[in-house]
Amino acid sequence: MASGMTVRVLLFASYADALGGPEVLLDLPDGARVGDVRARVRSLASGKRVPERPLVAVNQRYASDDQVVSASDEVAIIPPVAGG
């Protein structure tokens, strides 16, 4: 079996504008963690417009850097919030 997976990452607000759309598909090794997702997003063209340590949500909950992600997870990069 080839190791690796494709993870769909949701983008919002200024991050969606910067990266050209509401989501990106990332090829990541099995066992990749939230920190790997963040680093991969920043390696994309215009990815440096996303700060080094943005908040990340996995399955609609804020996640820590070391949380493991899988292909079935809903992963999102969360820009600074401004509700209210």
């Binding site: 919002f12 804020y62 999102a76 969360i78 919030v81 401004a82 509700g83």
Partner: protein, 148 residues
């Protein structure tokens, strides 16, 4: 208890009616609306967007926390998304309790946590024609246009 992200105007009076009960001697209503200036720059309108499913979940969690902090209270909240004009209500929170202290505390807790945690964003339109996502910390004194 009820929380919602809505894409239509918010009727704050309905929220008051929703938490109304004869054993609730105190009701606090917080209403946030679109302000006409941000850091001295005239604002003409706002677009709110949200990570809908997560925002719904986060608002529900915040309301549940408020009820745990203030046992016996009830909380109803709506946050609007989409294009809003000056003066439009962006968020309304009604908190009720037998006594005023807990009603104030519950309402305050909900708005402060919402501003910290709910995945909701706003894009300000300025009188100059420019538009920008608001990304500064939106605490007291930051001057965000819809900072209630």
């Amino acid at each position: 208890m009820r929380t919602a992200i809505v894409d239509r105007p918010i009727d704050a009076a309905k929220l008051i009616a929703e938490v109304s009960a004869t054993h609730h001697g105190a009701t606090v209503l917080f209403v946030g609306s679109v302000r006409d200036v941000n850091d001295g720059e005239p604002v003409t309108g706002l677009d709110y967007s949200a990570y809908g499913a997560m925002a719904e979940r986060e608002l529900r969690t915040i309301a549940e926390e408020a009820l745990m902090r203030c046992p016996g209270s009830d909380v109803v909240m709506e946050h609007r998304i989409g294009a809003l004009e000056l003066g439009d209500v962006s968020v309304a929170i009604a908190a009720a309790h037998p006594h005023r202290g807990e009603a104030f505390e519950a309402a305050r807790y909900v708005i402060e946590e919402l501003k910290k945690r709910a995945p909701i964003w706003k894009r300000e339109h300025y009188a100059t024609g420019r538009a920008e996502w608001v990304e500064q910390a939106s605490g007291e004194g930051s001057g965000a246009a819809a900072r209630p």
